[in-house]
């Protein structure tokens, strides 16, 4: 990791990989101040969009639109999937390999349909 602390609450990280398109450019330099990306070097407009907006609009744990404790949301998800006869697990294409493996393990456990963005 080549994160270099510059000033108070500011870090500069080199050789950052951009998680937007499958070109996976791995030469970005990202300046972070107070847990917010303030500068993206080497990135295209799409990369800038990913990093500069990354601190905005974070999701919150919710059930039926109401904010709940994290564990309650996870518990509700487990109950819904356990009760399902023909569940669908879809996505996987915008996360890392470890999460994909867990999705497959879960699909195997509950007899789910499993699909990713290749099929669209």
């Amino acid at each position: 990791m080549t994160a270099v602390k510059q000033a108070e609450n500011t870090t500069v990280t080199e050789h950052v990989v951009c998680p937007f398109c499958a070109t996976l450019c791995d030469d970005l330099t990202i300046h972070v101040h107070n847990n917010q990306v303030v500068k993206v070097r080497n990135g295209c407009a799409l990369a800038k969009g990913v990093f500069e907006n990354a601190h905005k609009e974070w999701a919150t744990p919710r059930i039926g639109g109401k904010e709940v404790a994290y564990d309650s949301a996870v518990e509700e998800a487990a109950k819904l999937l356990a009760a399902s006869n023909n569940p669908l697990i879809y996505g996987l294409s915008a996360t890392d390999v470890d999460a994909q493996k867990k999705c497959i393990e879960l699909a195997d456990l509950i007899g789910a349909n499993l699909d990713n963005a290749s099929s669209v």
Binding site: C21, T23, L24, V32, A45, A59, S93, T95, V97, D115
Partner: protein, 314 residues
Amino acid sequence: MVALQLGGAPAATLGEVKNRADLVIFWGSNPAESHPRHFARYSGAAKGRMNPKGRKDRYIVLVDIRPTPSVKYADEFIQIKPGQDFEVLTVMRMLASGQRPDADNIGGVEVQTLERLVQRCKDARMGVLFFGQGITETRGKHQNSLVIYQFGKEMNRHSKFLTLPMRGHYNVVGSGNTMCWQTGYPFAVNFGRGYPQFNPGEFSVVDLLKRKEPDAALIVAAEPMDHLPYEAARHLEDIPTIVLDPRETLTTKMADVVIPVKHAGVSVEGTAYRMDHIPIKMRAVLDSPWPKDDIPLSTIIERIKEIRKEEAKT
């Protein structure tokens, strides 16, 4: 993906493209807007071992149904009629094998133009055909990709020739690879019988949702409400839908359960596969209060096992 299984693909890494390719064709792809640095890093201006002058050492052809911002990066733009990719590519295969069609104009393109393009492919030190959603998400779908792979194979009798899809989502290749490794199949898998079955059309997401078959859905790092056809996505509004995502999306807004997670490549490290199947370790630059997505998924797995045990007792 289906085309890959039917035909195989002459492929190589983007590093090979950068170092060796002197002919680059983009078909149904607009990299200037969808993959903006692809030109600079691999396929256009990039200087490579056999391309020391970069852009000047490459001939770039763009094939699309309309001019896009990518045209200005190309030496030649060939405009074809919408929905005619298969026909044009099939004629290119004919021309490659020395046959000539009865018509002078195919899909809005003069046959002479195609003849010249085929000759360029034959004469190239290494040619690459990158194809995008204009091929894979229009009528004909995998048949279009298949005819590209077949053309690529044909070209390898004359020169070195690659056919590579311009994959979209940053780890869509990883999702296919991981599913192949774990289940044997790249997508559209069903575990209903206790073992993986593969059947695109039956177990693919759009078809399942259109037929309103699933009775619950778990969406992990995807935006079906935005990206899927609405006639499919709207079924998610009628069934319990759980979404794991770092950020608010159209899908989290309609979901019954939202589980926020860290953003891979932004707030947590992780591995993703580049479009040429090279695994790359991503870094983290921000902090996030939420766990990485495999943690709630593991908890869900453990809880379901417990629920099953309790049910078995009663």
